[in-house]
Symmetry: C2
Subunit: 138 residues, 2 copies
DNA sequence: CTCCTTTAGTTAGCATGATAACTATATATA
DNA sequence: TATATATAGTTATCATGCTAACTAAAGGAG
């Protein structure tokens, strides 16, 4: 398809365009695989990454919703909704911040921790398998 | 973040995992750029690709909704909705297929053709610029 | 020819992303 | 201190993907 158009656009390098299309394609395929995997664990990309983020927080056991939105680069309303879902599933605990009445503190429940431990190996496995061996040896 | 977990998973190659994460990240960024570009032209990825597909159809000037769903790998309900939007915008014409009363035929209007001509250069430009020069020279 | 299955498309409803506009609280300034 | 501005979070609404279940037409088997 690209070649059909390529003739009409001077200075265009079809290999670059095809590379970009391939980038989007392989990225999308990987995201689909992960979504399918997460779905089998009653999670989603964002739900999973939220758990990871709380788990990995150094020096603290809790995070503000605001920080989650920034670090995961999603809008705050999406974080609100996601946290509500995780709380309902019993995976996180949401409490008020005693220093700032506006803020909330989010931490993992034991169930959330075990869910994370259960899902992580498969997650890394999918990422691992998604890469060709040529890029594997450093 | 990955290294923190890497120690706990035997046989995992962190460079592969990081490569996969980078793949998803760069793919997502490119998709966002394209979406932002399409939005300035009252289009979306799917609306744009639908126009391209109809335009590129060899030997015919029309396509069935069904074929669009297959070639773009999206569900048929999404195609229905997208075609309705394109029709309302005056970019495509939808007519019945005289050989099969179930099927519909979709073709570009002159407005659709000019819209495509207006959007294509910027589209290829974004794809082109998204790729590093190292992959450019064949 | 009649009935069953397949196919094209639509409708309804869910998930998950976004922005705009709102409330409540914190902070800075006059 | 009083008021203005900034920040945390929520609500409402939209966009765009999906599946399930539906209608209507086509095609095949008896």
């Amino acid at each position: 398809m690209v070649n059909g158009y390529a003739e009409r656009f001077e200075g265009m390098d079809p290999s670059k365009v095809l590379g970009a299309l391939e980038l989007m394609r392989s990225g999308s395929i990987l995201i689909r695989k992960l979504d399918a995997y997460f779905a089998t664990h009653d999670l989603s990309q964002l739900r999973f990454l939220t758990l990871v983020l709380i788990d990995r927080e150094p020096e603290r056991t809790a995070l503000a919703a605001n920080e989650i939105a920034e670090k995961l680069d999603v809008s705050r309303p999406v974080v609100t909704r996601t946290l509500q879902g995780l709380q309902q599933a019993g995976l996180i605990r949401i409490s008020g911040n005693k220093d700032d009445a506006r803020a909330k503190e989010v931490s993992l429940t034991p169930l959330g921790e075990s869910k994370l431990g259960e899902v992580l190996p498969g997650y890394f496995g999918i990422l691992h398998d998604a890469m060709p061996n040529s890029e594997a040896r450093q």
